[in-house]
Subunit: 248 residues, 2 copies
């Protein structure tokens, strides 16, 4: 499932860099077609390849925090990342889960504004922000693609506002499962068994609930036969029902 060219060895240490090993990552990048890079022609691909620093982050490591100066931007090629904001007293709101094909640092601002941790082992193409923006200045079609990505993010954020402001716990869980399922489908994972690599606490902090409410709601849905809770995931046994809950 997670095919990696034998020559393409990813280092386990955080921020390990493969650039300069004679490995052409872009040429056989599995997420190229769905990432921002789809806007680039073969020649441009070799150009950006030379700017790219393939990097691996182990599970639970930090990509950046909300106060960090945004020195780099990231194209996720594998894994899952949580993006979140912390309040001074420790309350946390996860604003999104980023998957393969997603781009971090869209805003191109001086500070990230959100923190990002790898949930699973994660691989990214890292670019220095200055190099990336310089490249961007020469490639309006890439900027256009970046804008489309940002617009899509904004649209997801608006959906999440509806969820957080106006939906019940049941509906939040159902909508979460549906949207995650759709996102996994987009990157080629179409099983009705939905992997949930994040913790219950992560789900709670994404949905504006407590861990206990998340757990109880899973149990309730399981008892009514809509889902089956399995290790590190759920089977969506009654999709119609979940969809009904999610869009109600």
């Amino acid at each position: 499932m997670d095919r990696i060219e034998p020559a393409l060895q990813w280092n386990d240490s955080p921020a390990a860099c493969l650039h300069g090993l004679g490995v052409s990552a872009c040429a056989d990048c599995r997420v190229r077609q769905i990432s921002v890079c789809a806007a680039l022609d073969p020649h441009e691909l070799t150009e950006i390849d030379s700017l790219s620093h393939p990097t691996a982050f182990p599970a639970k490591s930090t990509l950046f925090t909300q106060e960090d100066p945004a020195s780099a931007v990231f194209n996720i090629t594998e894994g899952m990342v949580r993006l979140y904001k912390l309040l001074p007293d420790g309350r946390r709101q996860i604003v999104g889960f980023a998957l393969a094909g997603d781009f971090l640092g869209l805003a191109l601002l001086d500070r990230y504004g959100v923190s990002a941790d790898a949930i699973t082992d994660t691989k990214v193409c890292r670019f220095s922000r200055s190099a990336f923006t310089a490249f961007l200045d020469k490639k309006p079609h890439l900027l256009r693609r970046l804008h489309e990505f940002a617009s899509h993010e904004l649209s997801l954020a608006q959906d999440q506002m509806v969820l957080l402001g106006r939906r019940t716990a049941d509906e939040r869980i159902a909508a979460f499962l549906m949207s995650l399922k759709e996102r996994f489908a987009r990157i080629g994972h179409t099983s009705i068994t939905l992997p949930l690599p994040m913790s219950r606490q992560d789900i709670a902090d994404f949905l504006g609930l407590t861990i206990e409410t998340v757990s109880r709601t899973f149990s309730k849905l399981a008892k009514s036969g809509v889902i089956v809770v399995v290790p590190d995931g759920v089977r969506l046994t009654n999709l119609a029902q979940i969809k009904a809950l999610a869009t109600r």
Copy 2:
């Protein structure tokens, strides 16, 4: 305060168009410096001027709804607009209030995805989406500015997720007042008396609360001397306290 050139007569009917009356709106546009148009040089300004359809929407009229094909984009020059999403059962989440200088239709998608109503009498520069995107294709620096606007919107949306997911009613109201005050300051209104042209129901639907909770919270803050509720607004008599509540 709301200076209008005498020659620049705005029609009261919805979607009234002034283009072709020999009125050059851009030349003396009050929001040019803070809107997306700040990216344009004088020559480009005359170009976009010829694409612009100055339009007035009376209070309570609809600019567009979430299902509408996005045939136009809008630059708000005056007034206030609510942007919201409706669930099938009528629950509503306001995802933002748009003020002078804000741009509607940033995503450049086929559907708006959100609905927009004028709260006060509102004036906009309307552009057909096809004409605007065609213009955009020739002006990468305008696209860059549009992207900055979208990124800023995304950042606001993330802040709103924190508010909706993790803050108490008191904190939501305080944060709402602070952020609205800052936005009004940006467009030149710096008084400690903050106009609230939207209804309590609008505020409730923005903050994920009920109208009663909004009303009670205003009363509570007023009783503790932090604000004074006045017709169509509030006086922020203890800014430090409000800021403390808002950022806690």
